[in-house]
């Protein structure tokens, strides 16, 4: 059987020529997440053509989201069910048709997908989206515009924070969530003549609203 | 200081001027230069073509030639590197391995060696020229040539757009892949000539042969003496003359 043969060959190889791994250097200290965190995030997002709008309170957040929808010309939206407490996004997007994110086919008709990030990484400008029952993965993927809310408490230095974040999300069986996506800027390609184009398969536009209060 | 000079086979028979300039510079800087007899090749050709047994035989020969203690100096990065590779050719724990390790520990590329001499890098040499340097990948990123040349008064050191890019020689590579080799060579030659230099300089004899032979064949080498080894530039700067004469004269 292939499995046994493969494992046996690997074991024989390591027995014939043992491989010892030198102790790696310690991981360098991460960026500190301080009062300038929003500014750092905005700076790293800017070259990715992503605008960060920071809201001081739920009303401001609603205004930002409505502005984005208008600016992007969206007529319909779909969103994750569980949103940070105290935010009425349906009121903010009252002029748009809300569609249910039941399946990919449905979402393919939607102009704007609204999600929130379990974390955002200052080093790279990455949003950490963890899928779940109320949080379909395609909301951040199929619509041409993706809007993501980022709570202040979710700002983290870099990708080295991911293992711990994921571990905290383990279900009762100890399983990790089925899908975690790091989203860093819009969908992009430079496959034709190395000319950068946004929005090849995923959203061409990504807008982020920072929630600058304690949720 | 007494040193043993290791002369690459290419220099011994085709580019002796480089060796003579190296001797002149080293003596001028206070070294007593021995040239142990019976030198052939460092074994690089065999090693790089996969003939490890052949390389080992040549390494044993070199171990005999340079058995005396004291620094071994070689005006070629690739031959120096080969001598430093000798330990890899012998079983650890054997006498030959120990000798190879010992030799590898006291071999220096010419520029590195000169740079470590008292008074370096400014030995008071002067040469009014625009010199385009080919760094040569065979020097493993050493900046010794740049530092030595920068200290020569009156000399303007120029570096091509991609200073560390290979000139396309690669020993047997240039024979097995002649068109690819020539493409790389053309890239290198045109990047160097774009600097409008008086001199083409390198610390690697094989690169120098490759580049200047190409320019010479194509009539783009205006006048003899335009391609020089770093040792020759220092010889000119310190002694006012090319002890061994010019290349391509």
């Amino acid at each position: 059987m292939s499995r046994t043969r493969i494992l046996d060959t690997l074991r024989a190889g390591l027995a014939a020529a043992p491989l010892s791994v030198p102790e790696p250097p310690a991981r360098p200290a991460s960026l500190a997440v301080g009062p300038d965190a929003w500014a750092l995030l905005a700076a790293v997002l800017e070259p990715l053509d992503v605008r960060l709008r920071v809201a001081k309170n739920p009303a401001e957040a609603a205004t930002h989201v409505a502005d984005i929808a208008r600016a992007r010309g969206a007529a319909s939206y779909a969103r994750w069910q569980d949103m940070p407490a105290g935010l009425d996004m349906d009121a903010a997007l009252a002029g748009l048709t809300r569609l249910s994110p039941d399946c990919c086919q449905a979402l393919a008709q939607v102009d704007l997908g609204l999600t929130f990030a379990q974390a955002a990484l200052l080093d790279s400008g990455s949003l950490v989206l963890i899928a779940g029952a109320q949080r379909p993965r395609s909301v951040s993927l199929l619509p041409p515009t993706h809007v993501c809310l980022v709570p202040r408490a979710s700002l983290l230095p870099d990708v080295s924070a991911l293992p711990e974040l994921l571990s905290r999300q383990r279900g009762p069986s100890g399983l990790l969530p089925s899908c975690l996506n790091l989203v860093t800027g819009p969908s992009s390609t430079a496959d034709i003549e190395l000319v950068l184009v946004r929005g090849v398969h995923g959203p061409g536009a990504l807008d982020i609203v920072g929630l600058d209060w304690d949720l | 200081m007494r040193i043993q000079l290791m002369i690459p086979c290419l220099v011994e028979d085709c580019l002796p001027e480089i060796g003579l300039a190296a001797v002149s510079v080293l003596e001028r800087l206070g070294c007593a230069v021995d040239h142990p007899q019976g030198q052939t090749c460092c074994g690089q050709m065999a090693f790089k073509t996969g003939d490890v047994a052949g390389a080992r035989a040549q390494a044993l020969h070199s171990l005999e030639i340079f058995a005396d203690t004291g620094a071994v100096v070689c005006p070629s990065g690739s031959c120096t590197k080969m001598l430093r590779t000798y330990p890899q050719l012998f079983e650890p724990g054997t006498r030959d391995h120990a000798r190879a390790v010992e030799l590898a520990g006291r071999v220096s590329e010419f520029c590195e060696f000169v740079l470590a001499l008292p008074g370096a890098p400014d030995f008071g040499g002067e040469l009014k020229a625009r010199a385009a340097l080919h760094r040569s990948c065979q020097l493993d990123g050493s900046d010794a040539p740049q530092r030595l040349l920068s200290a020569v008064r009156g000399l303007t050191l120029l570096e091509p757009e991609r200073p560390e890019r290979c000139c396309g020689f690669g020993g047997l590579f240039s024979l097995q892949f002649p068109a690819v080799s020539e493409s790389l060579l053309e890239d290198k030659a045109s990047e160097l000539l774009a600097l409008d230099p008086d001199l083409l300089v390198s610390a690697e004899p094989s690169c120098l042969m490759n580049i200047s032979g190409y320019l010479s064949r194509n009539g783009r080498m205006t006048g003899p003496g335009r391609a020089l080894h770093v040792a020759q530039v220092l010889d000119l700067a310190l002694n006012g003359a090319l002890t061994g004469g010019a290349l391509w004269s």
């Binding site: 029952a133 969530p177 992009s188 496959d191 | 002369i7 003939d51 493993d140 002649p178």
Partner: protein
């Protein structure tokens, strides 16, 4: 530019020589390799503690190799616990059989694929098509070369050899867009591809992708991309198959994070690729999307044999950032197709030599000037030139190259050496006869044709002796 897929590693030398004469190809390669090197250089310049991050990344990969069999078993356990079905494939044929079996099992009519070298390696597409399914490459570059019937030419940018007009012509013909003008802009062309492929994603029964890393401790598969097509392929179709070459496993999420710090920066100069997916098992019962059925195929195809060689196994550290390709002067000159297999450039020459039949790959390790640009570029510290030498040794195995052998003989016999050089010096000091000597390879002839040989002069030893005698006498 139109390329056919008749390239083979066996004809590497001829293909390289021909490619180096192709001015259009060289211009494209020059543009592309400079573009990637420029982006990468800028990103690494700004990467604080870069060398420490590189060292940690290397350590993560070394750890994986040092515990490979145990980690693969652990991966199997944890992935199975998450509901992923794990398969083992000893070779390409078994890999194809497993995936086509899954395709038939789910009655797949439409298959969407994310960019994957390994599925290319096992020639999966023709096998899937033979089941009657439509198979779509969905990475834009891969889609374009698929429509053109050509192999990809670069790990990161598969269709760098195509101009926008080439792409417009192709879309006109293959996507039935009769009105499409040659002057269509690149964003327009991209949008057309988006529309065409969107339909396929929504209709797909099966998504097939490669794997950038698989995490032994959690059973997760990690996929890294910029376009979103891989997310589509794992999200929309009901079944997802991830095909993984066995060395891609890493021990922990920590190790994966260390690698993610380095991979995008080294590949494309991005701090992070647009999308990184960490998938653990199929969708859970309460989720609305994602594949309902997840498969992981662990492919060997010659790799396990490599682990016993302490030098060559370093090639298995590679995480396919492609930086060594862009930095290699030979690759910059000949491009990817000349290598004649899926993997090109320095790491490609190594991998192909290790994975393909020895008689087909004899020339690959010789297509290298030993300049070391690859080694210097590699974030994982792979010493490509040293591996090339090891392969050259293997190719020669007691039968060294003619020129090398003659030279080696002479060089270890000083007297014979001096006699040979002396004879040459007497007969042909300018080496004009050299290219015409019988039995010498044509390469030598063209070497001397394009370069004036320095000729044989009075030797250094003789001149030094004479000079010293004169000095002593004076």
């Amino acid at each position: 530019m139109v390329l056919t897929s008749t390239f083979t590693p066996r004809n590497f030398r001829e293909q390289s020589e021909r490619a180096s004469h192709d001015a259009t190809l060289r211009a494209v390669l020059d543009h592309a390799t400079r573009y990637f090197m420029g982006k990468r250089g800028a990103a690494l310049e700004a990467f604080a503690d870069r060398d420490t991050h590189f060292a940690r990344a290397r350590s993560a990969r070394l750890t994986a190799l040092s515990r490979l069999p145990d980690l693969l078993e652990q991966l199997e356990r944890s992935a199975s616990a998450a509901g992923t079905k794990v398969h083992w494939a000893a070779d390409a044929a078994e890999g194809r059989a497993i995936v086509t079996g899954i395709a038939k099992g789910c009655g797949a009519k439409v298959v969407v694929k994310g960019k994957s070298m390994v599925t290319e390696e096992i020639a999966l597409n023709p096998a899937l098509e033979a089941t009657g399914a439509e198979v779509w490459e969905t990475d834009l570059g891969e889609f374009i070369v698929q429509l053109a019937g050509e192999p990809p030419s670069h790990i990161i940018a598969p269709c760098i050899h195509k101009s926008r007009a080439d792409v417009a012509a192709l879309f006109r013909e293959k996507l039935g867009l009769a009105d499409l003008s040659d002057s269509a802009s690149i964003p327009e062309l991209t949008l057309l591809a988006r529309r065409a492929l969107r339909e396929k994603f929504l209709a797909a029964d099966l998504g097939v992708t490669g794997v950038n890393m698989a995490v032994a401790e959690s059973g997760s598969v990690i996929l890294v991309e910029n376009e979103g097509n891989i997310r589509m392929s794992t999200t929309c179709p009901p079944v997802h198959v991830a095909v993984m070459s066995l060395e891609k496993v890493v021990a922990t999420l920590e190790d994966a994070a260390d690698l993610l710090r380095v991979l995008p920066r080294s590949a494309t100069g991005q701090k992070m690729s647009s999308y990184v997916s960490v998938l653990t098992g199929p969708r859970r019962a309460d989720e609305l999307d994602g594949a309902r059925e997840a498969h992981l195929v662990i492919l060997d195809n010659g790799r396990s044999e490599v682990l016993a060689d302490p030098v060559l196994r370093e090639a298995l550290l590679c995480f396919r950032c492609g930086a060594c390709l862009n930095s290699c002067p030979v690759y910059q000159t000949i491009g990817g197709h000349a290598y004649g297999s899926v993997y090109s450039g320095p790491i490609g020459a190594l991998l192909s030599s290790l994975l393909l039949p020895a008689e087909d790959t004899r020339d690959l390790p010789f297509g290298c000037t030993m300049c070391g640009a690859c080694k210097k570029t590699c974030p994982l510290g792979i010493d490509h030139p040293n591996l090339m030498l090891r392969l050259r040794e293997r190719v020669c195995a007691g039968k060294p190259h003619f020129i090398g052998a003659a030279h080696a003989f002479l060089a270890s016999h000083p007297l014979a050496y001096r006699l040979a050089v002396g004879a040459a010096r007497a007969v042909d000091p300018r080496l004009d006869l050299l290219p015409r000597l019988p039995g010498l390879p044509s390469g030598l002839a063209s070497f001397v044709e394009s370069r004036q040989p320095p000729g044989l002069k009075s030797s250094f030893s003789a001149q030094l002796r004479a000079g010293r005698k004169k000095q002593g006498g004076a």
